[in-house]
Every structure is written in C-alpha cells, then in structure tokens.
C-alpha cells in the first residue's frame, strides 16, 4: 500500500461557519456551555422541537473545553440496559450524523478492542459481551489470536507482565474528528438563527422563588424561559450559587498525542488494567488517554506521573511506540459521579435542567445527549432513555454502576 500523505483525508480548514453575535436580553431557551453537549442539545431543540429563539452561552471560545480535549472515541458497549440504551442511541445517531449535518466529521467505524488481562476481567468481559448482545449492541469475545489478527502491532505474547487474555470487540465503534463535530453542529445552528455567544460566562441565575427565569453573565443578565446546563466540570460552581448540591467531583483528565506517523494502528485499543487507551488520528498522531488525576481540581492540568504511567502502559502493549515522541500533552476538567454514569434531567428548580457527570466519557454520547436532553427541556420531563440518569437515583439507590465498562477507559 502506498503511504498516504498525513492529513490528506482532512477537509480544508473552515472559514466562518458561524457568527458570534452579542447576546440579546431574552430567549426562550438558554444553554449554558458551548461544548459538544450544549451544541447538540441546541441542535435537537431546534430540529426536533422547533425552538430557535435560543442562545448557547460559552465562557471561552466555542468547543474549546473538553470538546477540544477528548480522545474522540465512540462506542456503546456498556454493561447495563440503561447505559446501552443511551449510548447505542447515540451511536445510531453518529452513523447518520455526517449526512444529517452535511459536514465531514471523519466518523470512522474502525472498531474498539477492550482488553482483558486477568481471569476476572475475562469473565467480566464475556458477561458484558452477552449483555451487549441482548441489548442489540454489536459485541464479540475474541481470543488473543483473533485480537492479533485485528491489531497486529499489539503485543499478545505471553511474556507480558499482564498478558492479553482476549478482548471484547465492537466493530461499529470508532473515532470522529471532535472539532468537526462541534463545527458541524455550530454551522447548522447558525443557519437556523440560533445565537452562539462566545466569551460570555454564566456566573449565576436569576430566579423567582424556586423558578429560574434567567442567567447572570459577564455580559449582563439574560432572561430565559428555560435554562439548560451543559457545563461539565464547572457545573458545581454554578449550582452552588443556587444552593443545589450535586454528587459530582471535578478532576483533571489528561491526554497526549505523538508526532504524526504513518498509519500503523488500525483500530481503537483500550485497557482498564494497564491503564491506557490508544487510537491513531486521521492526521497520524497516536492519541493516548488514561485515568483522571486523583485529586479535585479546576486547573486544567495534571501531574506528569499520570501520563508517564499511561505511556509506560502504551509501550508495554505496543512495543513499537517506544520510538514515538510525545508532541503535546494537555488536561481538561471532568466531573465524575459515584456510579460512573451521567446525570441528565430535571432539578429541584423549575425551568432549570442539568446535564453533567459525564466524567471521562462524554464525547461518545454527544448526539444522544443532545437528543435526550433536548426532549427533557422541551417537554419538561425526561426522555425514556435518560430517565434512569436522574439526580434522584442517588437517593433511591437505583444507581447505574458502570465502573466496569467505564472505569479508566470511559
């Protein structure tokens, strides 16, 4: 195969896909946070529910938070019915999203291998495969030989400290170009007359009793019929102003890329045990991620020992990566919940809706979140797919424990 020029698959850098208007004094709906989830929610509010008198308020620049910082992995092979429902709905939307937005997202269904390195992990993985199949999610259990056939550069020899005993395989999983996803939604929203307001930080809420009637921002107060929060790691800072306590903790999450390399890595590989996930971007960088830094922080940076461990794991699994160089590392702030599942739904305040707690795994859910959260806001009640992800579950005890399927490798 003739080597491809790195970047040959990429479309031209966009000129102006959206305007950046000043905020108006009032909207039917205000969305807090112009990342992937905020933009997707606005999109489906407009398309599915006909709401266009709407603003997306972003404190920095559009999609410059976790939407710019994630590792772009998309999959739906979660254990529980509730999660499978939501993530699989998202994956089905991903499968039609380029056409829907008429914009190249470089959505590539190259599959994901979730490795098992111990007997227990093998059993858990096989169980998850069976659960996935019952939920209509494509999944197979592969032995080490089959794993090697799919990803020849992976070290499947027995002399590893934690040998690969097999893997789950979801062929429909893959990656997309995260920036393009945001741009695609933003362009569509701009064309429908939705205001995408950048450099406008929401600092609090205007309320009448237990009813939220608007937001306070660094560019003045904005009245709103409804306020939908999609502020990820900053959610607590805002809800604290209402005295609304949420079961989330904000942590740094780091990722890194290598310099541009020829295509060597055909799929996505994730390992919970040795703590790394790796894919190769269209442009050629190896994209690596791992777990959160242990402590609470809003600093958008983490410690080097965390990424050092993740690189050690990558080199153990992919010996040829020892020759690669790190080009760039970075961090974002992710909001983690006790059961490793998101919170999406109503709040004790009228006309205030919250979507948060996606931890390390929100990107893959982007269109699914948009679809369900838009429904929640438009109908003032959750969509059946996000009803299990209510805030109340922490009181009722109906948790959706996805530590196994999410874990480090969300």
């Amino acid at each position: 195969m003739a080597p491809r020029t790195p970047g040959a698959d990429l479309p031209e850098h966009p000129t102006w896909l959206w305007h950046s208007p000043d905020p108006k004094s009032s909207y039917d709906v205000v969305i807090v946070g112009g990342g992937g989830h905020g933009l997707a929610t606005a999109y489906y509010l407009a398309v599915n529910h006909g709401i266009t008198n709407m603003a997306v308020l972003e404190k920095g620049w559009l999609a410059g938070g976790n939407m710019a910082r994630n590792t772009a992995i998309i999959r739906s092979n979660y254990l529980w019915d509730e999660s499978a429902g939501l993530y699989e709905h998202a994956l089905k939307l991903w499968e039609g999203l380029e056409e829907e937005l008429d914009y190249p997202l470089l959505f590539s269904q190259r599959g994901v291998l979730n490795l098992a390195h111990s007997l227990q992990e093998k059993r858990d993985s096989v169980r998850r495969v069976e659960a996935n199949r019952l939920n209509g999610v494509d999944a197979e259990w592969l032995d080490p030989q089959q794993v090697a056939e799919i990803c020849p550069i992976l070290n499947t020899s027995e002399d590893l400290r934690y040998p690969v005993l097999g893997a789950t395989w979801q062929p429909r999983a893959g990656i997309a170009k995260h920036d393009h996803v945001a741009w695609g939604f933003a362009r569509a929203l701009d064309r429908m007359g939705v205001d995408l307001v950048q450099g406008c930080e929401v600092t609090g809420f205007e309320r009448v009793g237990d009813r939220v009637v608007g937001v306070e921002t660094t560019r003045g107060p904005i009245r709103a019929g409804k306020v939908a929060m999609a502020a990820a790691g900053r959610t607590s800072v805002l809800t604290d102003t209402l005295g609304l306590r949420l079961p989330i903790q904000s942590h740094p999450l780091q990722a890194l890329v290598s310099e541009l390399l020829e295509p060597v890595h055909p799929t996505v590989v994730m390992s919970n045990s040795v703590h790394v996930y790796v894919s190769q971007a269209h442009k050629g960088e190896l994209v690596l991620g791992a777990g959160i830094d242990s402590y609470n922080s809003y600093s958008q940076r983490g410690a080097f020992h965390t990424i050092e461990r993740e690189m050690a794991a990558a080199v153990e699994l992919f010996p040829m990566f020892a020759r690669a160089h790190v080009l760039r590392t970075w961090g974002g702030v992710v909001d983690v919940t006790p059961d490793a599942s998101a919170i999406m739904g109503m709040t004790p305040f009228e006309n205030l809706y919250v979507n948060c707690g996606w931890g390390t795994g929100g990107f893959k859910a982007t269109p699914g979140v948009g679809w369900c959260f838009a429904h929640t806001v438009a109908h003032d009640e959750p969509h059946p797919l996000n009803a299990p992800f209510s805030l109340e579950r922490f009181t009722t005890g109906a948790l959706v424990d996805e530590h196994g399927a999410a874990g480090v490798a969300h």
Partner: protein, 92 residues
C-alpha cells in the same frame, strides 16, 4: 506534580500519597434513623468548590498516616495549615 506536606515526613511528592477527598464527612451516628436524603448526602454528596478545599490525604508510600490539607483547587496551591487541624489523623 504537587508537593504535599505530610505533618510527619515533611513535603513529599504527590505520587507517594493517596487522595481521600473532602475532610470531615461524618457517618450518621445511627444510620437506621436518618432519612434517605440524609443517607444519600453522606454516601454520595461532597463539596466540589473551585477554590479552598479542606481535604484528606494518606501518605501511603511513607508513614501511612492520614492528615488534612487545605488546598486551592483552582491553583493547586497548598495553603497554610490551621493550627492543630492539619495533623489530625482521624475525622472528628
């Protein structure tokens, strides 16, 4: 990497420590007597401030003792201790 001030060993690299989250979270004296809401609060709800946070650390690769630190979660700067609070080994 942060330097965490162990009250017994002095400032040591963060990699030697285990993080324990918010300090002074008390288990209800009689779990059977509290409401579902209060039990949920104890189990799952923690402060998550952007700013000063009083938190627990354990020096697992050193003296293996727990202690309390005040840290700014925005800058990661560790703040001066409040007298006897820092060396407290148990949650009061």
């Amino acid at each position: 990497m942060m330097l965490i001030p162990c009250p017994w060993c002095g400032p040591r690299n963060e990699i030697e420590f285990h993080y324990g989250g918010q300090a002074d979270v008390r288990c209800p004296a009689d779990p059977q007597a509290v409401s579902d809401e209060d039990w949920a609060t104890f189990l799952f709800f923690r402060d998550n401030p952007k700013g000063v946070f009083t938190e627990r650390w354990s020096h697992v690769a050193g003296c293996r003792r727990w202690f309390t630190v005040r840290r700014d979660t925005d800058s990661n700067r560790v703040l001066p201790s409040e007298g006897t609070q820092q060396a407290r080994t148990v949650t009061t």
